[in-house]
């Protein structure tokens, strides 16, 4: 059965690679048709990945088997799923040129990992861990989307401020749509991350009573949660909008990626899946 799983994974990788190329091509030659086709190719890739993950879950024993490959695949799956959901609703196809390469990066790194490896300590394996992981990953995937929308907002804003509403600007979504995507992604990203963290904390309180709170990854996650909380507050309560929010979503996201890498490579943590 493992072979069917790896065939599905391969198919998914191929589809995502072609979708990423198609999206970039559509931006390069400024034709929206390529982006349209890429959306369907990406949807196919998402479907294959879903089947792959379902099969894996079905064959795993007692919620275990959370290796690096699974972990990264879920990242790619969550980003793709959220992007596609939004795509079919808002028709802002070119966002894919920013998101699809990122999905591809996750899936390529995932492909390089051992498929059978299990990094979750045996006594921690359980449905609450899976829930914690999936929710936290979904939250982070939404922050990826907020960053992508923010980057596009800055490009479109720059074109319009410099009175250059040409072909490139036609291809990008409107400022209003991008700002709305940013708002939705921030709000739901925060909600998922909060739920994911609560799930993790509750679980940790039972099986890992000592010192879980000092784990670098936990501290990192708490910082992410606070900063995005502040961003969301500024957005909803103070009314920050548009370019300021776009810049902040990008900067904050990049800082967190950087600090996540530092946590991963310089400090020791039990949240070590990659």
């Amino acid at each position: 059965m493992a072979s069917v799983e790896s065939i599905l994974f391969g198919l998914s990788l191929t589809c995502i690679a072609f979708a990423a190329l198609g999206y970039l091509l559509s931006l390069l030659v400024q034709k929206v048709q390529f982006a349209k086709i890429s959306t369907w190719v990406l949807a196919a890739g998402f479907l294959f990945l879903t089947l792959n993950l379902l099969m894996a879950a079905f064959h795993s024993v007692a919620w275990g088997g959370f290796g690096s490959r699974r972990f990264l695949s879920i990242y790619a799956w969550a980003i793709a799923g959220i992007y596609l959901g939004l795509q079919f609703k808002t028709k802002t196809r070119v966002l894919g040129a920013f998101i699809a390469p990122l999905i591809l990066l996750f899936i390529i790194v995932a492909a390089g990992q051992e498929s059978g490896k299990n990094l979750v300590p045996p006594d921690w394996q359980g449905w609450l861990t899976v829930l914690h992981l999936v929710l936290a990953i979904a939250g982070e995937a939404l922050f990826v989307l907020a960053c992508g929308a923010g980057a596009m907002y800055l490009i479109q804003n720059n074109l319009l401020k410099h009175k250059k509403p040409g072909k490139m600007s036609n291809l990008l979504p409107s400022l209003g749509d991008l700002d709305r995507i940013n708002a939705i992604a921030l709000l739901w990203g925060f909600v998922f991350l909060t739920l994911g963290m609560i799930g993790g904390a509750v679980f940790a309180a039972f099986v890992w009573p000592d010192a879980w709170i000092y784990d670098p990854k936990v501290i990192w996650a708490f910082m992410v949660w606070v900063v995005y909380g502040v961003l969301l507050h500024q957005r909803l309560a103070i009314g920050w909008k548009g370019s300021r929010m776009a810049i902040l979503s990008c900067v904050v996201f990049l800082l967190f990626i950087l600090s996540a890498l530092i946590v991963r490579f310089c400090l020791s943590t039990v949240h070590n899946f990659i």
Partner: protein, 420 residues
């Protein structure tokens, strides 16, 4: 043979165009008059404010062209000399090409405008309703529609706006996405501001507020848009509420200042603001453009966009011309085959092919026949085929001079599947 006689905005002054246009108003009568001209087989007539054209299929082109020129001049109450320099006459490929270019809006005053295709379709429907067109023009018109569609979808000829007010609407869409529910403030009462307001409403914008130095004028314009009028003094307050501002007053100083916009932003909770300044001298302080989430375009900025779009259209037109050429040659090939002689030739070729193939198949049992007997069988088969073909060929030859010969030829091509 297809011919086209007419005039357009490039060849005829307005004075001549309006006379001919006026003469073409009674469409039903006009078509029957045109059908009565010597040599006409099928006829279709198109008249818009920029062109009057007659497309016809005929067997005697010089006679038909002369008749049409004479008729158009007379119908407009002009003499042949007065219209001689204005009227053009095309035949065959040139006529087909001209019609396709007209339908694809390559010959329009504003290249790429979409109205013309609707007018061509109307003309076609009218001619169809009066049984003025047959197989050749029918196919020609469908090819013209197809060409127009291809040009519109395969090139960017109609992609970007080429008027200042439409350019403003397109910009508003890029900023807000949808204009539904957006609020507009018009300052001043210029014609351009009004036009832009109309376009914005046409695209979904809802509430219009008009501010003017003269309350009476403000009320007048506000009534037109079913909006409300405010005084210039309350501009500060209004600015907090609207999404799009169009300004075109004759004021010598800035009507909307940097401070005003800055102040409003807090109350607006940083909502996007699009300012369109079409006044000369300018109404809105250019420094406003530096404010976050505020987008200011003046008349020069808009004109630059329009110029750029116009340039793009001309570039796209080159690609459109290629599409037209493809379609012209396809139609011209089809039309050639509608003549009797090539059809008779292909009918005979097909029949000979069948005879040869069948005789080949019969080789295995005809092998034991004497040479003489075999020749007799072959002669018999050929005789039967020739007898069968004799009648259709004769009819096509007899009718080739008649008005509806193309219908018969087309029927023959279909019955014997000569186009497969």
């Amino acid at each position: 043979m297809i011919i086209l006689v007419g005039l357009n905005h490039k060849t005829a002054p307005l004075a001549v165009r309006e006379r001919l246009f006026a003469g073409c108003q009674e469409r039903a009568q006009l078509l029957s008059d045109l059908q009565a001209i010597d040599g006409m087989r099928e006829i279709l007539h198109l008249s818009t404010c920029n062109r009057v054209e007659v497309i016809a299929s005929t067997d005697d082109a010089p006679l038909a062209v002369a008749g049409l020129k004479e008729f158009l001049a007379r119908n407009g109450g002009l003499t042949g000399e007065e219209t001689a320099s204005c009227l053009y006459a095309y035949s065959n490929d040139e006529a087909i090409r001209h019609l396709f270019r007209v339908a694809a809006s390559l010959d329009s005053l504003v290249m790429g405008e979409t109205q013309i295709l609707g007018q061509v379709k109307d003309a076609y429907r009218q001619a169809l309703a009066q049984n003025a067109i047959g197989i050749a023009l029918n196919r020609l018109m469908h090819r013209a529609f197809r060409t127009a569609k291809r040009v519109r979808t395969e090139t960017g000829i109609a992609a970007n706006p080429v008027s200042v007010s439409y350019a403003a609407v397109e910009l508003a869409k890029k900023i807000f996405g949808t204009l539904t529910g957006k609020k507009i403030l018009i300052i001043g009462a210029g014609e351009m501001a009004e036009l832009t307001g109309t376009h914005l409403i046409g695209n979904g914008a809802e509430e219009i507020t008009v501010a003017n130095r003269s309350p009476a004028q403000a009320a007048l314009l506000a009534e037109k848009f079913h909006g409300r009028a405010v005084s210039l003094a309350s501009l500060d307050e209004t600015l907090c509420d609207v999404d799009i501002v169009i300004s075109s007053t004759g004021a010598p100083t800035y009507v909307v200042t940097h401070e005003m916009v800055q102040r409003s932003l807090r109350k607006r909770k940083n909502r996007l603001l699009f300012l369109i300044d079409i006044a000369v001298p300018r109404d809105i302080d250019p420094a406003v453009d530096a404010v976050e989430n505020v987008y200011l375009y003046n008349i020069d900025d808009l004109q630059d966009i329009v110029d750029e779009n116009m340039k793009n259209r001309r570039r796209e037109a080159l690609r459109a011309e290629q599409i037209v050429e493809e379609e012209v040659s396809q139609y011209a090939n089809w039309l050639k085959e509608l003549e009797a002689v090539p059809t008779i030739v292909s009918l005979r070729t097909k029949a000979e092919g069948i005879v040869q193939a069948e005789l080949e198949k019969a080789q295995h049992w005809m092998g034991h026949l004497e040479n003489g007997d075999r020749e007799k069988v072959e002669a018999l088969v050929n005789g039967i085929v020739n007898k069968i073909l004799h009648a259709p060929v004769a009819v096509m030859k007899e009718e080739s001079a008649a008005l509806h010969s193309q219908d018969i030829v087309a029927a023959a091509r279909q019955l014997f599947r000569l186009d497969d």
